[in-house]
Symmetry: C2
């Protein structure tokens, strides 16, 4: 049975995998992101391995099988379409939809999901700029860079905000740094740990590296 617990594990494992596709995901990392004690993660991973959803090397780590990855992408598609639906159709704030989608992603049927997808005109990105896995076919790979990699003077479009914390997302919103915005890095002072951005057409904001590296941009 694919319980919602299994769906959550697969989705998290997939996301961890993406941060370093070559390496195995260590058990400690998995336990940490799933917020369970290590023994729980070990037990779960054994049953997922038995179901053929991942490969498990004891004391080494794990990696999703193609079947496990397909399921993970399915959950991720649901999650991101639901997020966008909640923002676009029901008018929720982008800072709160992640939490809502965390539950709904396990309850929405394929039929309902495809209706949402149609109503939203087959969107390619969720409210945070994360790509929506297509119903079939490969996940599109775009090459985004963190704001911290820009050279002073360089322009770029904000493409993604990779932190689901409502307080941070609300700050991004207030500052006018939502995906789609064009910015220019005006100055970077390593000593002050300050990235000064010009928001086009008007506006200015200064960020520390902790915040700046959560903002991914596409070079203009």
């Amino acid at each position: 049975m694919i319980t919602s617990t299994v769906e959550n594990y697969l989705k998290r494992i997939y996301l961890e995998q993406q941060t370093d596709p070559a390496a195995l995901v260590p058990m400690g990392k998995l336990a940490a992101v799933m917020q369970v004690v290590p023994g729980t993660a070990t037990a779960m991973v054994k049953t997922l391995a038995d179901s053929g959803l991942l490969e498990y090397e004891p004391r080494g780590g794990i990696r999703l099988t193609p079947g496990g990855e397909q399921l993970a992408l399915h959950v991720l598609r649901r999650h991101r379409i639901i997020e966008l639906f909640l923002v676009e159709t029901l008018g929720l704030d982008w800072s709160e939809v992640h939490e809502e989608a965390e539950t709904l992603e396990h309850a929405v049927s394929d039929k309902v999901l495809e209706r949402m997808d149609r109503l939203l005109k087959h969107p390619r990105f969720d409210p945070h700029g994360d790509p929506i896995p297509p119903a079939k076919g490969r996940m599109p790979t775009d090459t985004l860079i963190p704001l911290t990699s820009l050279q002073p003077g360089q322009r770029a479009d904000i493409a993604r905000v990779s932190d689901q914390d409502p307080a941070f997302l609300q700050f991004i919103d207030r500052s006018g740094l939502t995906p789609g915005t064009t910015i220019q890095l005006q100055a970077h002072d390593p000593q002050a740990d300050a990235y000064v951005l010009k928001i086009l057409p008007k506006g200015r904001v200064s960020l520390g590296s902790t915040a700046a590296c959560k903002i991914l941009v596409r070079e203009a």
Copy 2:
């Protein structure tokens, strides 16, 4: 913890209660409608009684406490608003939304629910004509009668279809007997077990008593 299992039990008990508000709901009935073995119902009922959600008379039956009833109505409100939302906003067929809502009713937050309610302009009835419990305040009581109680010649408006079976609902749709339709009972032949209806402004259909008593009407 209010698990979705608990929500389902409370909702079913409430609905059973309504069929005969004076009597206790017998354990056998509960087990049957919940599709569990009697022992399972007994075990569950004990924990619900311990949580103060219902009163349990061993070998007598059960009755929801005010707290249990409030929770049940909350679930029922979610269920019915979701059904209408799926029909109105996502364009699903009324024959399939009951099953979808059965899962979603446990996953939709109060915030999302109130957004749906607002988008639907605070509806009072679900697609099947069942009343939507208000967020606060008492459940409205309307006096509907089954089609089988009409006298030949009498006119009435179809108000509710009380069977969630998709095949039956599709038949009702095909026959033009959806809630809101005005009909007139043209003839009732007890020997043939046939209720002949005129559908206004035009149309005619004949129903047996099994089908006719699932259709509730409001006298014109």
